[in-house]
Amino acid sequence: MSLKSEKHIVLKVDNLSIGYQTKKSQTIVAENINFELAKGELIGLIGANGIGKSTLLKTITKSQKALNGAVFVKEKSLEDISNMTLAKEMSVVLTENVAQTNLSVQELIALGRQPYTNWIGTLTEEDEVKTKSAIEAIQITDLIHKKCFELSDGQLQKVMLARALAQDTDIIVLDEPTTHLDLYHKVSVLKLLQKLAKETQKTILFSTHEINVTLSLCNKLIVMKESMTHFGSPKKLIEEQAFDDLFPKDLVIFDSDSSSFKIV
């Protein structure tokens, strides 16, 4: 058996077209997207603004319908999976602002246990344990008694990540987890994701604009461009020159020697 087939594929995207469907017309944002994500991998999704990163993540997380092709979560088509079952396989962290609630951090993280709790949401001992270990993994024990509206952007991002972790799913999808954060906190969040993927064997997919950091931390990358969507390890993509036409070349160009973008 080859090495590749031994890998446990948890998320497979097959010839996917994404975009918006209205009664009269179809707006295709991107098409021909193919990739397979394995257990324990950290995958970065990069591309210019407006290229369809969020649309792709929405399609994968079932909040938007695919125009064509299919998404498979553990070999089951996304269309055949109920919201409830999907909630036990995949958790998400969105860019949406939830800061205006008066829930405590502890209560918010415990909401991650909703798919497992009874009709009124009583937390069992197992739920408490999972919540606690999520809090410890993200190292925010000092925050748990704070109210959500008191948190800074960086803290809130970590709390939402802890909530996703408490949901105890094999796949975590994050939409731009590093926006609003300074360089130090960006790297610390991404390092944390890398550590989580390695230690807990979760598959973590996130979209980002931090190309330089992503190149050095991720196992695989999805690169979305007007012409096509690339998928592969950072090394393979640099060899394929996938980054060269990521942006218009009048302002920034990719330097493959240093694997980073430089201002012209």
Binding site: L86, A87, Q114
Partner: protein
């Protein structure tokens, strides 16, 4: 005035007390107190549900046009009775038709607001649309009143002042039944209310069937606000203020605490308002609508100035 001791004797079933006093207490004071509890608790909860569903601290049965919808329903029944005439007119004036018309009116307005809000994502726009619905229904009511008789008009206007009295034990049973259904649906929704705080997308990612739960919440709100409005008139302020007072006092957004807390503080607030409207030592009774606003609004303003923040 009936002495307190005699009141307690009557409540304990002592039949030696003067018969007129017994009659007043059992058929007027006690039902009125129960109505105050049901109305305060029910409107408070319907406001809480609206604020969470729309994730907007300004939402409430009055602001979103629910009360106007109920008013339109009642106006059609009371003012339209002569227009329809005959057997249909006879049917229309029964109490059951009032409650059905009123709940139906508020349900339709709320449904319209929700349909529009699924297209318009901006919550501010939703509130403005609610206000527009309110003014459309108000216009329809005035058209109806133009064509109705003076007697019918008087009935409608008295209804719109709001009154916690005037309910017989039979009517109280109907109101209680509607209240139990509405609160039952609310308790069933507690878990989903907490995730809805995070927004629709997060709620869905946590396995919630958004369409179903949104429908249940709308149903609960319109049953509560509709039935209450049909029996006691459109009571302003309570639906908006009680959830905020409760959230400020209990300092949480967790609905497991909020739902019972709103039930409690709503009942207390309206009982208080009712006591004030009776004006002890005087012959006058103020309209309950005026008292809730005069007494409650300053309290909310004071709390907000102190705490400086409104939460969903």
């Amino acid at each position: 005035m009936i002495p307190l001791k005699k009141v307690i004797q009557v409540l304990l079933g002592d039949e030696s007390v003067k018969e007129s006093w017994q009659y007043i207490i059992i058929n007027y004071r006690v039902p009125k107190a129960i109505v105050a509890v049901l109305v305060g608790a029910g409107l408070g909860v319907s406001g809480l549900l609206m604020q969470t569903l729309f994730r907007n601290p300004l939402a409430g049965p009055y602001v979103l046009g629910l009360s106007s919808g109920a008013s339109l329903g009642v106006a059609i029944v009371i003012l339209g009775a002569s227009l329809f005439g005959g057997v249909l007119g006879q049917f229309l004036v029964t109490k059951w038709s009032l409650i059905i018309a009123s709940s139906g009116g508020s349900f339709l307005v709320l449904l319209a607001v929700v349909i529009v809000s699924s297209r318009v994502k901006d919550t501010m726009a939703i509130l403005i649309i609610g206000l527009m619905f309110a003014s459309v229904t108000a216009a329809l009511v005035s058209v109806l009143s133009y064509f109705s008789t003076a007697e019918e008009l008087q009935r409608y206007i008295f209804w719109s002042f709001g009154s916690l009295g005037n309910l017989t034990w039979d009517e109280l049973t109907i109101l209680f039944g509607a209240f139990v259904i509405g609160i039952g649906l609310t308790i069933y929704s507690i878990k989903s209310l907490n995730v809805l705080l995070l927004g629709d997308n997060y709620a869905q990612s946590l396995g919630l069937n958004i369409k179903k739960h949104r429908f249940v919440l709308i149903l609960a709100t319109s049953i509560l606000a509709g039935s209450i409005t049909s029996f006691v008139g459109p009571i302003a302020f309570i639906g908006l203020a009680v959830p905020h007072l409760t959230k400020l006092l209990f300092d949480t957004s967790n609905h497991k605490i909020l739902v019972p807390a709103v039930l409690l503080s709503g009942s207390i607030l309206l009982l208080l308002c009712d006591s004030i409207s009776q004006l002890p030592m005087s012959e006058f009774t103020l309209p309950i609508n005026a008292v809730t606003s005069l007494f409650g609004a300053p309290v909310v303003i004071w709390l907000l100035v102190r705490k400086k923040k409104l939460f969903v």
